[in-house]
Symmetry: C2
Subunit: 336 residues, 2 copies
């Protein structure tokens, strides 16, 4: 890593983020749990198996169609815990507030957090509040960190992915990123694009019931579907093949991407996930997902080809195929 | 709460902080665990008893004599977990970085975190990094959230405090606050005042071994010794009596307080704690503490008088006695 100072891209979920973690944090904080680089850590305390995940939320603007920083902060951590195969139980909430932040906005945000907790069936059990001078933060930042219990017998990890695995996606991509972008750019759409921010723990419970052999799950947040699949290909050392025509993109999301010059493949989602499971289990998992509101549009979008060449390949709408690299550069900053 | 926007005092650890939590967060996030308002939450997952605590660190400047934001972020959460009677095991670390933040400073800070983890025998097992535009944050903010296991049989809580309890303090007060203030004000002292930031888990393990009947522990961070004891008096409904002459204050800390107009009683500490235990156990606890490097100056500073009138009273050096209220106003912002 050559940069002498932090760039926006270091937080973008792409190549620079990946390098910051892999080359700076990992060597220093080195331990077998952190090394796995999953959405959360699975911990053995001697008495129980837990999952543990943290996220700071800096999304701008903090109110957007379909949610706000408060609900996003609850869903984001609930989803990261769920991707570990855990049942989310407890959250911490830590606020960094800028002096002068409107109390009415704080009220609305914490009400939204409380409602999101009820929907996701988790409790905020501990917290912290810091205030910094006017100008030392942009409004408010929220960290949520969560604990869940892991009762699923088998390890769920990128390391478990195998050649032949089916890859299932639960719905249209790019909605959250497009919602934030249109809000920020003040594009006057007839109907706003809604963020897809939802808690995925209910859907994940269905998935785990449907198959005793789920290999990996990952939510497609920063970096988008393309970013996380390219990262998974790299981490697992497997070639991953996906079909562009099987990946749903809402018409208005595609339109906004064309206007603003983004690719929905790399836009953040906050309610979309991929599941890796043996092909023989894929129909059963798909059916279970289709029976849940957040999985009704689930479909198989690709498969794991072989070990040995960690890369993501997409068969394009135009009939060709191309290698999809981990996105470099800044992507969309402050999307979550 | 009448303020229409956030004031610095809402994060100061005094009356406004207390009101923000008690009147806004608690009613919304209401649950029996959060209601206890301890330094961390004690959780029952069915299989084990855990403690869980979160803190965001926004200290300015981020390097100071005796530590930096990195070591502080590790010690702070280790200490909060320890105050619940838990053995800290795992931390998450979430960074919010300002675009342009010097990579060399980040390197130094994460090295310091890694060293602090080794000293405190905890592991950072999961993390997050966000980057915001230049001007949208002041350098860097770090959230650490921790998990520990609680093996101590009895509840350790302000609710367990009883009339007759001895109150033990482990050393001189105001060091951290004075270290930050002198650094910030660029007072040219002959020898800098060092922050007292240390991990207290080793000391707490000694305390818990010494007595099976520890009632409460609290580290005297934001709000200082006076602030946390006034809060404990309020929460427990007990009158707490302390002796000013028994409370150690370093000469140079007293000097800085006189110059800058602060009271060491309300200055933050990052390695000082109070223990509440039955008077009959107090000598044994004190001896155990005195045998540990971070407790060698431990002493009894007061006692719990009676239930019914939750207030803090101090016998002063001048021979009188006065009621110490929870500090109002902004105290020292960004001390941790």
């Amino acid at each position: 890593m050559k940069a002498e100072s932090i760039l926006l891209g270091h937080g973008g979920g792409g190549l620079l983020s990946h390098e910051l973690v892999a080359r700076k944090f990992l060597p220093l904080f080195k331990n077998s749990i952190l090394e796995r680089l999953e959405d959360g850590a699975v911990l053995d305390t001697g008495e129980s198996r837990l999952c543990f995940s943290t996220d700071s939320f800096v999304v701008n603007p903090y109110f957007f169609p379909g949610g706000d920083i408060g609900s996003l902060a609850v869903h984001g951590t609930v989803n990261d815990l769920s991707m570990c195969g855990g049942t989310p139980l407890f959250l911490s909430a830590a606020f960094i507030l800028e002096e002068g932040f409107p109390m009415a906005d704080l009220d609305r945000i914490i009400q939204s957090m409380a409602q999101a907790c009820r929907r996701a069936d988790v409790q905020i059990v501990t917290g912290d509040t810091k205030v910094v001078h006017h100008g030392a933060a942009d409004g408010l930042f929220i960290n949520t960190t969560g604990i869940g219990v892991v009762r699923y017998d088998r390890a769920i990890s990128v390391a478990c992915i195998q050649a032949g695995d089916a890859i299932i996606l639960n719905g249209s991509i790019g909605d959250h990123g497009a919602a934030i972008l249109t809000q920020r750019e003040e594009l006057g759409l007839d109907a706003p694009i809604m963020s897809d921010s939802v808690p995925l723990n209910g859907l994940v419970a269905r998935i785990l019931e449907a198959s005793p052999d789920i290999h990996a799950m990952r939510d497609a947040t920063r970096g988008g579907l393309g970013g996380i699949l390219a990262e998974i290909a790299d981490q697992s050392g497997c070639e991953i093949l996906i079909d562009e025509k099987s990946i749903p993109v809402q018409e208005k999301v595609r339109g906004v991407c064309e206007i603003l010059g983004f690719d929905p493949l790399f836009l953040a989602n906050e309610g979309k996930m991929v599941v890796f499971c043996p092909y023989v289990d894929s129909q059963r998992v798909l059916q279970a997902m289709n029976g849940h509101p957040y999985g009704k549009d689930a479909r198989i979008i690709g498969q794991v080809e072989k070990k040995g060449k960690g890369r993501l390949v997409m068969n394009t709408l135009a009939g060709g195929s191309r290698v999809i690299d981990m996105p470099a550069g800044e992507l969309v900053p402050r999307i979550c």
